[in-house]
Symmetry: C2
Amino acid sequence: MTPFGELWDRSLRNLLADAGRAALEDAGIDRVDSLLVGNMTAGMFVGQEHVGAMAADAMGLLGVPAARIESACASGAAALRLGFFEVASGAADLVMVCGVEKMNDVTDATDALAAASDREYEAYYGATFPSLYAMMARAHMEKYGTTVEQLNLVSIKAHRLGAKNPLAQFRREVTMKDVENSPMVAEPLRVMHCSPVTDGAAAVILCPLEKAKDFNARPVKIAGIGAATASLALHDRTDLCSLEAVRLAGQRAYEMAGRKPEDIDVAEVHDCFAIAEIMNIEALGFVPEGKGGPAVEAGETDLGGRIPVNMSGGLKSKGHPVGATGVAQVVEIYHQLRGESGERQVDGAKVGLAQNMGGTGASSVVHILEAI
Amino acid sequence: MTPFGELWDRSLRNLLADAGRAALEDAGIDRVDSLLVGNMTAGMFVGQEHVGAMAADAMGLLGVPAARIESACASGAAALRLGFFEVASGAADLVMVCGVEKMNDVTDATDALAAASDREYEAYYGATFPSLYAMMARAHMEKYGTTVEQLNLVSIKAHRLGAKNPLAQFRREVTMKDVENSPMVAEPLRVMHCSPVTDGAAAVILCPLEKAKDFNARPVKIAGIGAATASLALHDRTDLCSLEAVRLAGQRAYEMAGRKPEDIDVAEVHDCFAIAEIMNIEALGFVPEGKGGPAVEAGETDLGGRIPVNMSGGLKSKGHPVGATGVAQVVEIYHQLRGESGERQVDGAKVGLAQNMGGTGASSVVHILEAI
């Protein structure tokens, strides 16, 4: 994983090369059989499509089959899922999955991101992502009594952990006052409830389990994968408070892995906005529906809590280069399951979950990883 | 496959629904396990990413896992390749692969398409796709003696066959004079050597071979798949006249299928420009290197010739909705192998090949299909 942040001296091509070469070096190989790149919208951010071919070129992998996978902010995990199938099909032994986004070379990141919503029926009428998530937050507060203070606590936790992550964009703690005094973006969401605009990339290499020890003394197993969709537009959902695609994706991943929510030792969930972390821990079954806010307040999702969530600092503090996020989440879980996360380490973590989400939850992909 | 053309009354969403529902109806099913959508740049064309989720929504497949696959103009075939792996892995029994592009709602299609080239090192310096292919054509003419008349014959054949294709964008024959008198775009390429800007979509449904007869009395088998990359920028190639990614992709597909170029009864190749058809039939081994022009002149690639190429009318006459093209090529081969192509039918075709390409050949995907 590259450092996440405003990387003015790294282009899209540089980021691909940085993450890709680091992954190859870590695995001790100089070639893969196939390359998949998760990327949301290099077209709108830097005018570049054909990102798979660019990646192969930039990584010194010319000739290798390459394609880009997109599912808005869930692009990284969507790419990982398809890479898994490629290995599982027997067609490839070594597949690199890279996620990347270069967001800081564009004048209107909000417009590019709005391409993840329903352009015709949401964005054209003025809805932006902060406003869509603000509506979800309002509905959740109304239905379940979730409080602004609980939202604040999500961000405070994120920054406290992100401050310990050397690759995070914002390595500083924030106080309740900092959050309360940050500018309002879309009521009730303030700047400090919103993930930032970030450049970054991350890459992992997949291979059949029985061959993994040839490349890595302590590989991590992908035990479960689930993916699902819900309506593209928020107004088509039956319930604004429930992330149906996340619930379904989680259920499918648990089923494939033969696991239950109680088995998960550490999780990375998609906290593009503070309310999303609360809704996602509910949808994944870590807490009952409507109980996300109180769980955060009780410290259940903190380091040392019942179900530690976003030990990386989450999208809020680590940063959110949209197409890279899903892969970066898996990188965090990989290190957690190997006990390499330093001050952010969840003691004895053996089973981890990474949940990535697109738009207002129109798509989601969940991976369950296990130490072996 | 939808009609291809300037479809002012069909949006991106409509096209997805049209092709997807038609495919479901043809298979007699109302659900698939997974959906992959090939699309080059709905972001730059109509401001919409998250096209997989939109497709699931538009096709009435809410909940189904969905993602978009992009490899510039090879997006459709890149999606089909990954759909094949998903079925082959055992993770899914029914996978829909849809390709789509809505190109006529944008003011600057040339700029959106330039995202398939190397934006930093080609497009920013003024290179457009016609100019890049014009350089390839000039190099081919210089090295092998390929003539403008041979380029013209590619287009004349395309239009003669496309006139017989009820779904083609340009259903009219053109004469040598028509081609010669058409406006120059980038010397030596005239308008009549260039594929058009097109709206359209196509969809296929994949399943394990042993279950195919449950859905279709005469299914078609995917016998071989090959994919490869070459340098993103044209100036990085060792030879402007040779499409290395196509050669490699073809070689891999032949190997997987246990087939040779001589076994192919009918082929769809990526004729985004007339020179591309000539270079592709060389790269695929249908004719020796440098002999593409003379082969066209001798009628070898025509209906009734030794290796009939682009019986659909090709990208030139059928139209080229970039993300849909790779899937539409496979739709043509499917019908050819079932003997359903009417006046364009290649007698007794049993083995077909579809070759899709991105950019100036920085990526290519080849599928070999067989009647069973």
